[in-house]
Symmetry: C2
Subunit: 245 residues, 2 copies
């Protein structure tokens, strides 16, 4: 059996010394990988520099990426090279990446110019023009401004690549929310399963993740909760069991 696992959190550069980072220790992913390695699966593991790594034993192939763009490239390469029985996409991927930054003064000038031209309320197209100016290759944003304005744009949904390139693989997506009701968590996770054409989605809530606790629900295509786990090791075992190893 060949498994592809993503874990850790991606970073998107603001400039050469600052990034926006999605938090993820990678602990859950490393435990899932360890459980599959124990079952003698071949594990291809895509992760980030700061994330906790699985045991570096035979059958583990490790790939490090940093941002969403790298991740998409790495996954595309792997999915074209190997056939995977199972893909577990637990990585916390940046939804937004910085496209433009303004000092307070530059931002004022830019929007005042837009209003001058428009002579009326601004709309989405006008905002788009703010970012259309060629993005300067900002080396390090000067700290010589009281406020900084950062415009971020949605990143492409990397998970979509998986079923597009390997429709036959079994895909488990992850959805993390913060402090919502169980109902909202399940609903939101299920919608993300539909969008990504995943077979299962693991739904979890940051407010229910502590040092020795990690409450998670595994949801299938019929929006049924087919499993519940209360810590990271149990999540790994639930995934193993569901995928019939």
């Amino acid at each position: 059996m060949r498994v592809l696992i993503t874990a850790g959190g991606t970073s998107e550069k603001i400039d050469q010394v600052r990034s926006i980072t999605n938090h993820s220790t990678g602990r859950l992913g490393s435990l899932i990988a360890a459980a599959f390695l124990e079952k003698e699966a071949e594990v291809h593991y895509v992760t980030t520099a700061a994330a906790k790594k699985p045991p570096m034993i035979k059958n583990l192939f490790l790939y490090e990426i940093s941002g969403t763009h790298d991740l998409a490239e790495q996954l595309t390469g792997l999915l074209k090279k190997y056939t995977f029985d199972l893909v577990i996409h637990s990585m916390a991927v940046s939804d937004f990446a910085p496209v433009r930054s303004f000092s307070q003064q530059a931002f004022l000038t830019a929007i005042n110019d837009q209003f001058q031209k428009k002579q009326g309320p601004l709309d989405e197209k006008d905002l788009a023009q703010l970012t259309q100016q060629v993005k300067k290759d900002e080396k390090k944003i000067s700290s010589d401004t009281k406020q900084l304005y950062l415009i971020l744009e949605k990143t492409p949904k990397v998970i979509q690549i998986i079923k597009k390139l390997q429709p036959q693989t079994v895909l488990i997506g992850f959805k993390l929310l913060v402090d919502v009701s169980k109902e909202e968590l399940i609903d939101t996770a299920y919608r993300s399963l539909q969008k990504s054409h995943a077979d299962f989605v693991l739904a979890n809530d940051l407010s229910q993740i502590k040092a020795d606790q990690h409450i998670a629900y595994l949801i299938d295509r019929n929006q049924q909760i087919i499993g519940t786990a209360t810590d990271k090791k149990a999540i790994a075992q639930m995934i193993i069991k569901t995928t019939n190893l």
Copy 2:
């Protein structure tokens, strides 16, 4: 001899799952600490979770912080409790922290409202009003917007605390720029020495930092380059030598 060293890079939360992080591996800081520990100094080491740690031997006291606010609190506490012969502030501290985020639509509404009220070009005060609305305790920013607008504000300069609380300590500040001339690097580093009342500043340029190379200049209060080093271990030794151990 008692030394206080800061190392690593701070993070400022955007919401509960995302942060803006200043990159720093903490390798240089850990080598400087190791060099002082070898000289049997007592080393108090303030760092971040992701940063490389010095050898955990006797005489090392380790403190972990995350953001600028934690850092200021931790340093204030230590400077009130202990007298330090030397403070080496190598941590990459966030210059800006997020104060407000807007979806594209919310941002349009907010600035169009401002223009409506003002009936003329906006100024700094009008922008300030955008952030004066009480910051919502954003749990996880919804990804349901094409663009995200993030307003960041300057953080207080933590380095200023040091000489204010212990005017007699010897303070070494750090200045990192990206791809500038040597002249600009030295000038900018010297201005930061003046602002922070440091005794020395270590000036370095990211474009001259590679796996086995780290070019750095140690500058004193007379704007003299009193030392040049070409790798991290040499920087640690240069600091040891300058501080007469």
